[in-house]
């Protein structure tokens, strides 16, 4: 997948590179969203692209989330490759209908006559005092929506490769960018490359227990694994990368090997991705599991503003460590 030499880049820079390469390569690619033009986006992901590609292909929009997604879908029906930015994932509620009833069903309900290859980039996740409307993990809102794809990178290299793969892909894709990862750095290969969708990444091999994690929780899991290694617990960490439809094969193979599973996801506990994974693991690895699956998640609450409160409800390394300890008992 990636042959070219790698440089150190932030997650944001990796995303910007991907957008730049996609705009350069395919005239059908264009971007739209609030303040993505001259300003370069609320988190700087589109910085420099307006100047380079002009306002026709890097389009500032009014504060009209439904129209943003509608525009993306309509143009995608015409063969364009829109990359829409919804500033905060929390605002997807306003365009839920467009995503769920339009984009996700477009190919199906007209029996293949249209495609809706849109990419909706959005900043999600908590931990910075953003409060109830700027901090949510929203993948749980969309898990029961066949036709939709959810992609969620954890590293700068994957941010770039998965974004390029998403733009190439013919399906509607919700591309989640966890705000706490924007400033992390990592090796990022130069030039154009894609990282396959629907393929989980084994972020760390291990034999005693499998932790399946997404986005920021991958890093928390790796930190937990490093800590527990000292105690002789050898943890395998799987970065799911594509949340829907996900790579059950890699997950199940790992759990069959280790016999123990922890799923780690920042969203609230009930009805989220962690439950989906726990169900599938519990059913498919029924005879292999040595302990019940553990879900490490946010608590079942909205996200409070004050940092002490927020810290209380969001999962971190400590919670992953505890989860692992529980399945090791």
């Amino acid at each position: 997948m990636t042959q070219s030499p790698a440089r150190t880049r932030t997650f944001v820079q990796a995303l910007t590179e991907a957008l730049d390469l996609a705009l350069e390569r395919d005239p059908n690619v264009y971007m739209l969203g609030e303040d993505i033009g001259e300003m370069g986006g609320d988190f700087g992901v589109t910085r420099g692209l307006w100047a380079k590609y002009g306002e026709t292909r890097v389009r500032d929009t009014p504060l009209s989330e439904a129209a943003i997604i509608g525009t993306a879908v309509g143009s995608a029906m015409m063969g364009m490759r829109p990359v829409a930015e919804i500033m905060f994932a929390d605002f997807l509620g306003e365009c839920y209908d467009q995503l769920v009833n339009n984009a996700a069903k477009m190919h199906y309900m007209f029996d293949g006559q249209f495609k809706a290859p849109i990419v909706v980039r959005t900043a999600c996740g908590g931990g910075f005092g953003g409060g109830p409307h700027h901090s949510q993990s929203v993948e749980g809102w969309f898990l029961n929506v066949p036709g939709l794809v959810i992609v969620a990178p954890a590293t700068p290299a994957d941010a770039k490769g998965l974004l390029l793969a998403s733009i190439e892909n013919d399906n509607p894709i919700l591309f989640l960018e966890h705000k706490a990862l924007y400033r992390i750095k990592g090796d990022v290969p130069e030039g154009y490359y894609t990282t396959p969708l629907r393929q989980a990444r084994i972020a760390r091999e291990g034999k005693d227990v499998t932790v399946v994690a997404t986005m920021k929780m991958v890093h928390e899991a790796l930190a937990a694994a490093a800590e527990l290694e000292k105690e002789g617990i050898n943890v395998e960490v799987i970065d799911l990368r594509t949340i829907l439809p996900y790579d059950a094969e890699t997950v199940l193979a790992s759990v069959r090997k280790t016999g123990r599973a922890v799923v780690a996801n920042e969203a609230p506990r009930t009805g989220g991705l962690a439950s989906e994974l726990s169900a599938v693991i519990g059913e498919a690895c029924f005879r292999d599991l040595k302990a019940p699956v553990e879900r490490v998640t946010g608590l079942d609450t909205p996200i409070p503003f004050s940092l002490v409160l927020e810290k209380y409800i969001l999962p971190g390394k400590e919670q992953v460590v505890e989860g692992i300890r529980r399945v090791m008992k």
């Binding site: 929009t61 009014p62 509608g70 029906m77 015409m78 009833n101």
Partner: protein, 327 residues
């Protein structure tokens, strides 16, 4: 008479096709041959025929729930197989959407039919993207969004008009004001019974059209599409018309109103009288046209009925492009 007689007769044929289609369909629906729900466009034929007449196969239109007629006209005009719209309504494999869509999701991009969305009004947002693609590719095409007066309640009305205006997108808003949204009179559901009043602030041309007069409707649509193809941005047409279909549960509108629209303002009656008055065609000639069209539509109904049902397992096809769903 502003229209030449050939065009008028063609339009009459189109209108008659719409009515025959809807009446035939309704009959079959009542017999239980058509699943789901049914809304018909009877009474609104002039509006629909005028739009269909000016839209090219390379244009795009989003038909609403009363637009079987436009769908059939476009299908027949550009691909010669209007029966595939009928088949879709019967849920057959030969339908334009393979039976997956039905009344509310019959599409065919090859003829410019971008499909209804049964979440009324959501395609007011989608139409922007189609129009944007035309604009970015410098194609002189029109993206037409057909919506009812009730649908104007949706917030997307505002988002759409605003974005079309600021980006000067080639969108034709064809607002079909038939006086009611299910049971809600337009003047009770909206701050103004004239929807143009809500549209004017966006700075695009806003024109009220008698939607039951095919000549006027044809001329106004012509003006609108010319303006849009000229790169001047969006255009808003409000067609005043009336639908014959009441509620599922029956008629609820005042008897005099019903009489007035059905007897004095029937677009077909009006056009028929004009034709007979202004051409060599006699009442018999027109009857013959009507009979021809009706026979054709009945043929479509037979086709639909004789078409096979879709393969059940096709139900899992086309969820994703290129990926199969494991279940």
């Amino acid at each position: 008479m502003t229209l030449d007689i050939e065009t008028l007769v063609d339009l009459y044929r189109d209108m008659w096709l719409i009515r025959a289609f809807e009446f035939g369909l309704e009959r079959e629906f009542k017999k239980g041959n058509v699943p789901g729900m049914l809304h018909t466009g009877v009474g609104q034929e002039a509006t629909q025929a005028a739009l269909a007449a000016h839209l090219h196969a390379t244009d795009a239109f989003f038909p609403d729930h009363r637009c079987h007629g436009i769908n059939a006209l476009a299908q027949e005009k550009h691909q010669g197989d209007g029966e595939r719209i009928m088949a879709e309504l019967f849920g057959r494999a030969t339908g334009v959407s393979g039976g997956k869509g039905g009344s509310l999701h019959s599409a065919n991009p090859e003829v410019g039919n971008f499909g209804d969305n049964a979440v009324e009004g959501s395609y007011m947002a989608t139409v922007l993207g189609v129009a944007l693609a035309y604009q970015m590719r410098r194609q002189p095409n029109v993206a037409c969004c057909i919506i009812g007066d009730g649908t104007v309640g949706r917030g997307e009305f505002h988002e759409s008009l605003n974005m079309a205006a600021i980006w000067k997108l080639p969108v034709l808003y064809a607002l079909v004001n038939n006086g009611y949204a299910i049971s809600m009179p337009v003047g009770k559901g909206h701050a103004s019974a004239d929807i143009v009043d809500l549209a004017r602030g966006y700075g695009m041309p806003c024109v009220v059209v008698d939607g039951n007069d095919i000549e006027l409707a044809y001329a106004e649509v012509q003006k609108a599409v010319d303006y849009i193809r000229g790169g001047n941005g969006p255009y808003f047409l409000e067609f005043k018309t009336w639908r014959w279909q009441g509620l599922f549960s029956g008629e609820f509108r005042p008897a005099e109103e019903v009489r007035y629209w059905k007897e004095e303002r029937d677009p077909l009656k009006l056009a028929r009288a004009k034709i007979i008055e202004n051409s060599a065609l006699t009442a018999d000639d027109v009857d013959r046209i009507e009979a021809e069209v009706k026979a054709e539509v009945e043929g479509w109904i037979d086709y639909a009925k004789q078409s096979p049902m879709p393969e059940p397992a096709k139900a899992t096809a086309n969820v994703y492009v290129g990926w199969t769903v494991e279940n």
